[in-house]
């Protein structure tokens, strides 16, 4: 199985967050935390991204955008929700326009709690996301292999 753990490219999307988590996400890329040593690149392009990192909750306006960005990402892909707002809706939960956490729209793989989430926690969340990223590929490969061998038997 191909090892793809060393190159996770992140797509960062700001839902309706207060920007606290976004600043912490950017802090991960600064010299102090330097997420690039794990091969993490903050790309702005969903077509080139592997991990979808979302901060802030989902409201009725960005719902469609989040779904579209998720669909534009090629498989295997992982979703990491950063901050309590992205996990559950946080302090904005009862607002009239907030639908709740990211999992109300797309499946979330890793929840990183905190308000704001600390850079250490974000990098830990990404590291867990990377493991899932590799698992996804392996599962897909195994499934394809099984299908192929099943076809071979029936033929």
């Amino acid at each position: 199985m191909a090892n793809i753990k060393k190159s996770p490219w992140v797509l960062h999307y700001d839902g309706s967050s207060c920007n606290g988590c976004d600043i912490e996400v950017l802090a991960c890329l600064t010299p102090v935390y330097d997420a690039e040593r794990l091969g993490i690149i903050n790309t702005g392009d969903p077509m080139q991204a592997d991990i979808f990192l979302i901060t802030g909750g989902i409201n009725s306006q960005n719902e469609e955008t989040v779904r579209q960005l998720y669909e534009q990402m090629p498989r295997p892909k992982v979703v990491v929700a950063v901050g309590v707002c992205a996990c559950t809706g946080g302090v904005f939960k009862d607002c009239y326009n907030i639908k709740g956490g990211v999992d109300t729209v797309i499946p979330v793989d890793v929840y990183v709690p905190g308000c704001a989430a600390r850079p250490q926690a974000i990098i830990d969340g990404l590291a867990q996301g990377i493991e899932i990223f590799q698992e996804r590929l392996d599962e897909h490969r195994a499934k394809k292999k099984n299908e192929k061998s099943a076809k071979g038997v029936s033929a």
Binding site: A2, I4, S7, E36, N42, D45, M47, Q48, P74, P76
Partner: protein, 288 residues
């Protein structure tokens, strides 16, 4: 002739590895300049490996074909150069390759990649005069466009063509997509055009683009080496040292400057070309 064939095969087989390794060094040195630890030196290879394992989504199926054509033409450029044929012909084939990259980007009709592609054309306009003048310089000094004859002269041409060398190194910044001239696409995250010319390239297509960049970098570094190489074997060491110095200089410029507007890029590169290569040209024509 025999060494030409060996060099050509070596280029086709080894250039992606050399190019990828140089890019890895580039990223490591960049990180150290920013006081970061930085990714491993083999990071570019990990990236390409991952890209090859991802699902292929392409907006237009023609894009893959156009990108493969871009790659084949770029490999041909380098192969011709290292075989030792006409240097002018090499640069013409390189321009054709760049045109296919332009088509691969505009074919998707995405606004970001279209603007990126238009900027790529402006970049070509900016570096093409210096590239052509370099060929003219070699012709005036050596009396031939033939790479193998230029390389087997008993004196390095850098002594006769320092102005052309400065112009060529200057436009290398454009060719290698380094700041301040990375207007069409940037190696660094987040710019106003998302990823510019590569916005609509994902997974395998981006891997093809990346590998072609490595071929291209090794080719242009070969041209840098051509300025230093002569008939003696020891000049190869000098040429390699010069290539490494030039590469380091590009990384340094990349990390110490911000992107300029396209109009400034055009002006600055033409002025540098005109002054350094032009003055060198006049002097060369007088002393001949």
């Amino acid at each position: 002739m025999k060494t030409g064939i060996i060099l050509m095969i070596a280029y086709v087989l080894l250039a992606p590895f050399i190019g990828g390794f140089l890019e890895g060094l580039d990223r490591k040195i960049s990180a150290r300049m920013q006081r970061r630890v930085g990714p491993p030196v083999l990071q570019p290879f990990y990236d390409v490996k991952k890209l090859l394992n991802k699902q292929t989504i392409s907006v237009m199926t023609a894009q893959t074909f156009l990108l493969i054509t871009y790659m084949v033409l770029m490999v041909l450029t380098g192969a011709m150069f290292f075989y030792g044929t006409d240097i002018l012909m090499c640069f013409f084939v390189m321009s054709t390759a760049a045109t296919f990259l332009y088509f691969a980007s505009v074919v998707t009709s995405s606004p970001y990649s279209s603007i990126g592609a238009q900027r790529e054309l402006i970049q070509m306009m900016a570096y093409e005069p210096a590239v052509l003048l370099t060929c003219v310089g070699f012709y005036l000094a050596a009396g031939t466009f033939n790479v193998s004859e230029i390389a087997s002269h008993d004196m390095s041409y850098i002594l006769q063509l320092p102005g052309f060398f400065i112009a060529f190194v200057f436009i290398l910044t454009i060719k290698m997509r380094k700041s301040p001239f990375d207007v069409s696409t940037s190696h660094h995250a987040h710019q106003e055009l998302i990823k510019g010319i590569t916005t609509e390239m994902g997974s395998k297509n981006l891997a093809i683009f990346q590998i072609t960049e490595w071929y291209e970098n090794v080719f242009v570094m070969g041209v840098v080496g051509l300025f230093f190489i002569n008939s003696s074997i020891t000049s190869i060491i000098g040429a390699i040292a010069a290539i490494l110095v030039v590469y380091f200089l590009e990384v340094l410029i990349d990390n110490s400057s911000a992107r300029v507007k396209w109009a400034d890029m055009l002006k600055i590169s033409w002025i540098v070309t005109l002054f350094s290569a032009g003055v060198n040209l006049i002097i060369l024509m007088i002393i001949r």
